[in-house]
Structures are given as structure tokens and as C-alpha cells.
Amino acid sequence: MTPPEDVSDADQVRRDERRLAEMGYKQELSRGWSSFTNFAISFTIISVLAGTFTTFSFAWLHGGPIMASIGWPVICFFVLMVGFSMAELTSKYPTAGGPYWWAHDLGGKGWSWMTGWFNIVGLVGIVASVGYGCAFFLFNLLALYGVDIFGVNFGDDIHILSETWLLFAIIMVLYTLVNIFADRILALMNNISVGWHLLGVAVILALLIFVPDDHQSVGFVFGERFNESGTLGGDTGGLGFWFLVAPVGFLLGMYTQTGYDASAHTAEETRGAAVGAAQGVWRSIFWSAVIGWLVILGFLFAANDVTAVNDEGGAVFGIFNSALDSWAAKMVVLIATVGQFFCGAAGLTSASRTWYAFSRDRAIPGWNVFRRVNRDRVPFNAVIAVSVFSLLIAIPALFGKNDIPFAFFALTGICTVGLYLAYIIPVYLRFRAGDSFQPGPWNLGRRYRLVNLLAILFVVVVVYALDLPYDPTGLPWNEEFDAANVNYTPLAIILPLIFGVWYLISAKNKYQGPVKTLEEDVVTAD
């Protein structure tokens, strides 16, 4: 199939609306986004200024430098297989529903129902975790400056969790306002965000290269392996290391490279979506992989005081505080915090479009409220709903041990499992459909088999890695067992149980899959 020839924006929009009509929907959202903006939203949600900063410790503690320097590109390669698989489906079905819509066409309404809810849960989890990560970085920035305002002292060592949560709530309100009242600014923000990420990474790399007095060797960055996880007595070899410790280290790439389904969810707002949105999915993963690798190498080469980093639990602050002057450390944290703000705002856009689409298809209780759009064609009630649920699931972050909100981490782990399941169910269904699948203009040709298979195998590994214990004291048979340190992610099994039972008891008869709004109009007119 040949790519579409160059056409004017107006012609392109008409073609997009015609394709949307073929799928049964009338154009309700504003189709004002270019392919670049579509790429920009996914690139912003993946955000190398968020994930690589907040989850670097996973790799550092569970395997050491090689888990980041080698693990990152290897994991990203497999994430790209998931992305390519989803890109092919985005091209075939360029609609806001994304994965659950694909699952309906390929597998029926039961698959669609489960996929949609997994996707919603995952995206709400992303908004909550990115918003909280942004608040955590903002808290650290304010602490570095010793800010004491309105009776809240960010410079002291008390009330850390409640102060971070306060910042989180403020950030969520800002995300919501931007999403509802500044739709055009939001598109601009996503474009600016790409520039911010590129420029920010360049500045951070320059600081990490020129400010430290000395750097680690290539041998350390690409060859050093250690186990600071507290398990296996620090062993760095054997089956135990590779099957119980190293997979947790891979979470650096697995957690960071999520949210690229945004390019699919914003397909109804993108001109030339059948190709542009499909390319937005894989390109956002690809460029995040390349740029993220440079950021990670910057961290590793600058980590000249291993003890200082270990003392910070493997967090990047240990690198900044030990290798950089105070002004440089503040600048790095500032750049990352702003990047994370962009990331969360874009995450809310993506999640709200999914909520809107799933409501439009009457899957969410109160669907009639959530499917409404305002004068600017923004699904404002869906935006508010995602924000409220993000705040609710982050309530456990008010509690923790040693100022670490373990319960909240467990919730985000559960949400991430949900997200990956939502990604892979339609890929499995497409694989199952084989050559009977009629692809869109962006397709993998015969390579779909290999790509789909690698994607499915990778997600199995991801779900396994997410369920492994982070800390030995979280294991019941450990003498120092502490329930606060348990990784509760295996509770993700309750997700299919809840949604499955709900479907069987009630939704099976009510949910009919995607509701064609064009047909609905005809019915209403009759």
C-alpha cells in the first residue's frame, strides 16, 4: 500500500472524518493537532526527564550500572516491539478508544470490556504516579532552596509525606485547569515540551560532563555489576541473580517507557491520523530510548561516589549531591521537575480521552455525563473524573515508613500491570487473527508475526518483574519481615477478577462494545 500523497490540511481533515465515520463516529473533538503534536504528547508522557530520574534506583540497586547502561537499550528494543504492534493497530483503527476499540473488533465485547478497564486503571495510575513524582521533585527543589512559606517549611525533615501530597494536590489542580481551559495551549505545551526535553537533556548532560571533578571509567559504566537489593547476600551471579534481582533492575526501562498509547487516544484530534498517530506511537518510544540512554550514561559516568549513591538508596539525588556543585544540582532538579509537569499534564489528556471514549461507548457508570464536551470540544467531565480518581488512589501516599509511601508504590505497580495488559491483549488478538487482518496504511507486512510474538513475550517478563519483591524484609519468611515493605503488585490479579465478575453479572448484557454515534444520531432523528 502506498503512503497518502501530500494533501491540504482541510482535505486531510475531511479524509480523517470520513475514516472516523466509517468506524461509526462523528467528529466531536477538535482535529487541530499535527503529526508532530501527536508524537509530542507520547514523547512527553514517556518523558525521559521523569522515568529515568524517578526509577533509576531500581537499576542501580538491582544489578548496578550494567542494568542501566545495557539494560536500558535492550529493554527499549522490546518496548519498541510493543510499540510497532500497537502502531499497526492505531493505523487500522484511528479512534480515541485505542486498545479497547481494537480488542472489540478483533475479539468481541468481552475482550473489549476487559481491555478498556485495564487501560483506564493504567492511565489513572500513570497520572497519579507522574503527578506524585513531579511533587516529589518539586519538594526536593524547594528543600534545596530551604523554602518556608505559609507555615510550610520544606527545608526541615518533618511532615515530608504530607507536604509532598499537598504539592501533588496543587499540581493535579493545575493539570486539570490546563486541560479544561487551555486546550490550544495544551497542544502548544506538548510541542514546547519536546524542546524542553531536548534542551533540558543537553543542559543536564553538559552539567554532568563539565561540573564533576572526575568521572567513572567505561569499564565501570558498562561492566560493573553489584547487588544492593539486600537479597542473596549481595551475590551478582547465578540463577538467583538473573531471575530474582536483575528483572527488578529492568523496571527502569519498563516503567519509563509507558504511556505511548496517547498517540492512539488522540487520533481523533490528529490530522492524517492513520499514518501520523501510528508513527507517533513508535517514534516516541524510539527517541525516548535514544535520548534516555544518553541521560542514563550521564548519570553513570558522573556517579563517582558509589557510597553516596548507595546511601541515597540508589536515587539520582545521590549522584547530583555528590558529583555536582549545589547550583548545578538545583538546575538539574529544576529541569526535571518542569519536564515532569509537562508529562503529567499530557498524561491527563491521554487518560481523559480514553475515559471519554469508553463513556461514549457506555462502559463507564455515568457515561452520559462523561461523554460531554465543552465549547472548546474538551471532554471536561472526563478530565475532572481522571483527576479525582488520581487524587483518590494517591491517598495512601500520605502514609509510609521512613517517609517512603510503599502502599502508593504498590498501587502504581498494580496500575502498570493493568496498562501493559491493555497494550498486549489487542496485540495477541491481532496475532491470532493472522493474515485475515486487513491492515491500515501503516503496517508491518509479514513481519507482524515476529514483532507481535516478541511483544507478547516481553509483557510476560514485565508482569513477572513487576511482581518480584523489592526488599527482602517484604518476604513473609524473612526474620525481619515488615508488612510495609511487601510488594503488593501481585494483587493486580484482583483487576481481572473485579472486571470479569462485573462483566458476567451485569455488564455482559449492557455493554455492547463501541456505540456508533452516527447511527445514534440517525436513531435520534427517526
Binding site: 545495557i70 502502531a87 493505523s91 501510528a278 513508535w282 517514534r283 503496517n443
Partner: protein, 34 residues
């Protein structure tokens, strides 16, 4: 199939997977020689 007959997706796949695969290979080679 002639390379020029490839769809956009197949070309994108070759470029994206090829470059990332090379980066991963480079990292592994550096680990071996360092």
C-alpha cells in the same frame, strides 16, 4: 520483496529496530571489551 516495495511501516520498522538493536549491541560489546 524489493526494498522499494516496502510499506511505510516496514521501512519504519527496519530503521527503528535496526538503530535500537545496534545501540544495544554496542552496549554489549563495550561490556565485553571493557
Amino acid at each position: 520483496m524489493n526494498k522499494t516495495d516496502r510499506s511505510i511501516g516496514e521501512k519504519d520498522f527496519a530503521m527503528g529496530a535496526g538503530v535500537l538493536g545496534l545501540i544495544a549491541l554496542l552496549a554489549i560489546i563495550l561490556a565485553i571489551v571493557s
